[in-house]
Structure formats: C-alpha cells, structure tokens
Symmetry: C2
Subunit: 127 residues, 2 copies
DNA sequence: GTGGATGCAAACTCTTTGCAAGGGA
DNA sequence: TCCCTTGCAAAGAGTTTGCATCCAC
C-alpha cells in the first residue's frame, strides 16, 4: 500500500511546477530548498516512480542527459545544440503512429526531439 | 594528423556491416572476433570519433541504452518495448523540421523513435 | 624517429540498492 | 504498531581518461 510522504510531494510538486525539463540533480537542488536533508536517492526513487506510473516522461537527449517532464500529453521537444536545454514543442503534426502502423510497424507512441538553437542562445549569438 | 589503424577499421567495418543498431559492447564483441585483445576503450574512442565526424548516429532509447547506427541519412527508428531492439523505420513523412521551423522553432534535424513491439516479439507472443 | 593510436587499469558520472532508522495511517 | 519511505553509504553500470607502449608513416 502506498503511503503519503512530504518528500514525495515535494519531488512531484517540483517537477509539476516548472515548464523546464529538469534533470534528476536539478530536481534534487529544487527540493533541497525545502528539504535540505533530502537524499538524491529519494529523488531518483520518486522520479522513477512517477515515470513508471505514467506521471512523468523521461527524455534522453543526444548527449545522454536524462530530463524529466510532468506533461505526459503527446508533444514534441526541442534540445538546444548550444546550451543543451530542453523545451516543449507544441506543433500540429500528422498522426505519426498511424503512418507508421500503416506500414506494418507497431507504434504505440513515439518520442520526437528536434535539435537546433533555442531562442535564448540565438539572441546571445546576435549580440 | 590522423593515422591509419587496423582497430579503427575493424570498428568502422563492424558498424557498417550490420543493419542492426549495436551498442558499444556489442560492437566490442563483434570486433573481438578479429582482434581478441582490443580494448573496450578503443571501441568507445572510435565510435565517439565516428559520431563526432558525422559518420554514425547515436540513438538513446527510453531505457537509456545507447545504440549506434552507421546509416546517417534522415530516417526514423523503432524500439521494441519487449526486447529493447532498435530497427530502422523508412517511412514517408512530411518535412518535420520545416513544420517546426515555420512555428519559429529552430530545428536542424530531429530524432524520431517509435515504441511498440517488433515483428519478432509479436510473432513469439502469438505462439 | 615521431607522434597519433592502442591496451590496460583506474577514475569518473550517473543511478540503483541494502539496510537501519524514521514517520504516516 | 505496522511497514512503507527515507537517508546514508556502498555498489553497480556505462563511459572516459592517464599513461606507457606500440606501430603507421
């Protein structure tokens, strides 16, 4: 039976409160503001639990960094080639799974990551 | 100046000779047939080099396993939810980067991974 | 002969696990 | 009280690095 814990709430709230896509250690730093003694293992445990229960996405970028996202609706992501930051991309796309399934490829869902420069890095380059 | 080495050739050939998408340790095992003393570090070094020079893709699946692909043309992949195997998906898709760019998102290229069951695992389930 | 590439082992990063102590219900 | 959750530390997996040796040029 699952019990309530303040640490678990803090991890969930930390992830849900941001639109950025923090890594485990970033979530750790966020939660430590409230729970200075929280263990990194606890953060990993709760993030893994959220992922397994379907409450969080795990996004692995080209560099191998693992980012978490509390928005589990089907949407795409963008990874900045300069700063490595991950952001949401909400664009209208055809039903990619359907296209794949029509060709005999079993696709239940997909992960789509665009690579390029984020707005922030693009404007810095111009300066 | 870059020099020639038989080990490097062996790593490149191993990756280019298969349509599967081996992980570093699988490439290591392949190359060891020819070079029993080759070091895993050498395999990693040469795979990283191929990736940096644009001669190989690095594909990270949901589970975090890193697979290599010598086919660097823009195409999609499929990862089996049962066995974890990665395979190519050559389907006609709209120009996703163009769609993203039109919305102001800078996309130079993308990585698209479908998740579902591979043919092999699907037929096993039926038995 | 020179210096890039290798093999080995150690280091390193990220993540998971074992276990005793803590704390919700 | 019960036993799930935590914190700590140690283990583990995957990958990288330092360095002496090797070998292509």
């Amino acid at each position: 039976m699952k019990r309530h814990s303040r640490q678990r709430d803090a991890v969930r709230n930390a992830l849900c409160s941001v639109k950025s896509h923090p890594t485990a250690t970033v979530v750790y730093d966020m939660v430590r503001a409230e729970f200075p003694n929280i263990s990194l293992a606890t953060v990993y445990r709760n993030l893994a639990e959220m992922h397994q229960s379907g409450d969080a996405l795990m996004l692995t970028t080209k560099s191998g960094a693992v980012h978490f996202d509390a928005d589990t609706s089907q949407h795409s992501h963008h990874c900045c080639l300069t700063c490595g930051g991950v952001s949401d991309v909400f664009i209208e796309l055809p039903n990619l799974c359907e296209i794949a399934n029509e060709t005999g490829c079993d696709a239940e869902y997909y992960s789509l990551m665009f690579y390029g420069e984020c707005d922030s890095c693009r404007s810095k380059v111009k300066n």
